[in-house]
Subunit: 442 residues, 2 copies
């Protein structure tokens, strides 16, 4: 993509309405544009990041055997009356009357609808477990939407649901999501810690939030530092290995403030390991047994007896993760962003020094651009006649992790190549592509 | 995927509420499930088809240089008041009041919102043309939703918008979409004809509908048969070649009933070439100049003067195409569906004959399954103990174009391989994979 042809409307300065750094950077680099309070359009740069996050989430769901479906955004109120949540949910639910005056709503979550789909499709315990997910827009009518896409009204979320015959099997399903969440966040170069959490309006008695550390986080967290050392990498997708993994995490005290108890914290965590900080929730998993299956009569035949299925639900905020990654990776003091390569809008950028009467550097840049494209690398080339220091400043904000700079001393054997936040090195193109390719395949 | 683990809830008989064959087949094979009037959930089989269609649409948009963005589903009424369409649109617009009592709506189309994004981002004619698209859920509150996802309320659509400085440039953009639509439908093995069409509530004076022939179509069409012979394959993405292509189509009379004039039909089409039949609209493109840019003041600087940009819009019904393909490809008399391989939910299925006390055919099937997976083929294996004739009947409905049947006379060198709607042949596995792979890469 040529920068002059792209739709990346960059702002000169930080917009004053934005209070946190992800909101600032996303508006400033033209990733999003507000269309009304708490509702955003995703412009090409932001869209590309969100799509890459979505694809990682999808692959990690598929890997543990969850099947993808897609439920609609607009739901009937009837199933919410069955579960008893229609009145409970309050004003955050966007309620709608259609032209026939039927009560509809914009789904804030999908426990009811997926239970309805399950109960009309699956009749026997032999078809269990069933693990289903979808990635769809949700709406929560926040009274005071703020922080850009971090606390907005229309947001993009992956929500999954599990259906099992017994508590034991249901915990096995729960643990599959537990490992899949760890793997998902790891691929985005985030270190997310699973923390015992409250279940809130979803219900149930077993729940973990996945939290990444960030000074700007909304959640206070209290944790044993040793939890960062737990290694999940050799976990197998079978019952014992998965329970062992959860035990390895759960032996360290680690909670959000809703669950915090100072006595327990001090009793369980030696002084040197205590960490009290802030974090951002990026995922949340729940086990709630028959909370929905019982009122909604979702049962299966089990040797001639009707058994209510045991359910859990599992959410990842896909659009929210775009902001969360910025909060974790953006150095706003020095105005330098660096996207993890797995979600970066482009793999590499090329910044030629172009003067009014001399296009030779642009030609060299286009040559390199074509070579990188052939190798399936996605490249943004800055073909504008801005001076090179403005270009570098701009691209430091855009956050593409690798920059190739083409100036007056250009030498094919020693091309200036810079990883954002590191010193430039001078190497031939083959070595540059080797570095990027190897980072991508990690 | 193993059939016993899949979420494909098949119905024994055609559901009585479905009047057309796509609606019947989609309910019967568990592709969709209605959640309320005119609103559907997409189950795994239907979801996979829709995603493949979406991806083809995306690739063909990208190929002609359209950039992907994503606008929200919920819009503010304000921009619709600016364009003057808020009152005009009528009851099909789903109008919503949020908790602050603001007038919102579920977008039925996006001319206003994209114009708002454009005008606040692009200031100079030097940044033109800009071609933007998104693939997003839309809502039209149909009074009588019917025919399943063919005429529903919540539907998935690709809509694109072009912004140019002059009529001439704008027609060039229009023609880029013209070729991209032909290519898009060709990849789905549909022969879609571009027909001069009315512009309706979108406005403007140049418009084409892309129509595929189907007896169950809602549109009456009148056409010169020679239009089916027009060859678009060597068209280049430049002005002259694209106008030439449109001329080649436009020299043949071809209209929907809104534009039909019997005198012209008889004058322009020799008797032997006249065709009067029915069709399904799968795409629609419009050129409407400054219809939106003028009232919404979307202008760019052109050598010191403000010029309103010239706009067009371009839609493809992504969810609707799932139904349209079934209408075109499903032989409901013989209950045989055959998906084009490019959008088929799976590349191939394996149907072993399994008797109660003998799993040997299942083992052989699993072996073949693993080999095909290694070659990146997506395979559904029927591991249930249904008898083989039920299996074949069921899979003829599912429409996966290739079947491998494993029975008592199994022979590695002569595996029974059947293309749906053809006679079985007996060949080794390498030849089977060669056939499927070569069909996929077409």
């Amino acid at each position: 993509m040529f920068f002059s042809k792209s739709f990346i409307p960059i702002l000169k300065n930080n917009p004053t309405e934005a209070k946190i750094k992800s909101h600032q950077l996303m508006l400033r680099t033209g990733m999003i544009k507000q269309s009304s309070a708490g509702i955003y359009s995703w412009l090409p740069l932001g869209f590309k990041v969100m799509k890459k996050i979505e694809q990682i989430v999808r692959e990690e769901q598929n890997r543990v055997g969850v099947q993808e479906i897609l439920m609609p955004t607009i739901q009937s109120s009837e199933i919410w009356k069955e579960s008893g949540r229609y009145d409970d949910y309050g004003e955050e639910m966007l309620r709608i009357k259609d032209r026939q005056n039927r009560e509809m709503l914009y789904g804030p979550t999908n426990e009811e609808l997926v239970t309805e789909i399950f109960r009309s499709s699956i009749k026997s315990y032999k078809s269990l477990p069933q693990l289903l997910y979808h990635i769809q827009w949700k709406f929560r009518d926040e009274l005071r939407p703020r922080f850009g896409i971090m606390r907005c009204r229309e947001f993009y979320m992956k929500d999954a649901y599990s259906f099992d015959i017994s508590d034991e099997e249901a915990i096995y399903s729960y643990n599959k999501f537990f490992i899949s969440y760890l793997n998902t966040f790891k691929r985005m170069e985030l270190s997310a810690i699973p923390m015992a959490a409250d279940t809130g309006p979803i219900g149930g008695n077993l729940s973990h939030e996945f939290i990444i550390l960030a000074d700007t986080g909304e959640s206070k967290i209290f944790t044993d530092k040793r939890i960062f050392e737990v290694d999940s990498s050799n976990t197998l997708l079978e019952k014992n290995s998965l329970s062992k993994l959860r035990e390895n995490y759960e032996k360290y005290y680690s909670v959000t403030d809703e669950k915090f108890n100072n006595n327990e914290f001090e009793k369980n965590v030696p002084k040197d390991y205590r960490l009290q900080t802030k974090g951002i929730e990026v995922g949340h998993i729940f086990y709630f047994g028959d909370k929905y299956s019982k009122p909604m009569k979702a049962s299966v035949d089990y040797n001639g007896k009707k058994e209510f299925v045991k359910m859990g639900s599992y959410g990842i905020g896909v659009s929210r993760l775009v902001g969360a990654i910025i909060e974790a990776k953006y150095d706003d003091k020095n105005e330098i962003m660096k996207w993890p390569i797995s979600v970066s809008p482009y793999d590499c950028c090329i910044l030629p020094i172009i003067s009014k009467n001399d296009n030779s550097n642009l030609d060299k840049a286009i040559n390199i651009y074509k070579n990188l494209k052939k190798l399936d690398l996605d490249v943004l080339i800055d073909d504008t006649d801005e001076n090179i220091s403005s270009k570098i400043k701009k691209f430091n904000l855009l956050g593409i992790p690798y920059q190739i700079i083409i100036g007056k001393n250009f030498n094919e054997q020693k091309i200036e190549f810079k990883e954002v936040d590191k010193q430039p090195i001078f190497i031939p193109l083959e070595e540059i592509t080797k570095i990027i390719k190897s980072k991508k395949s990690n």
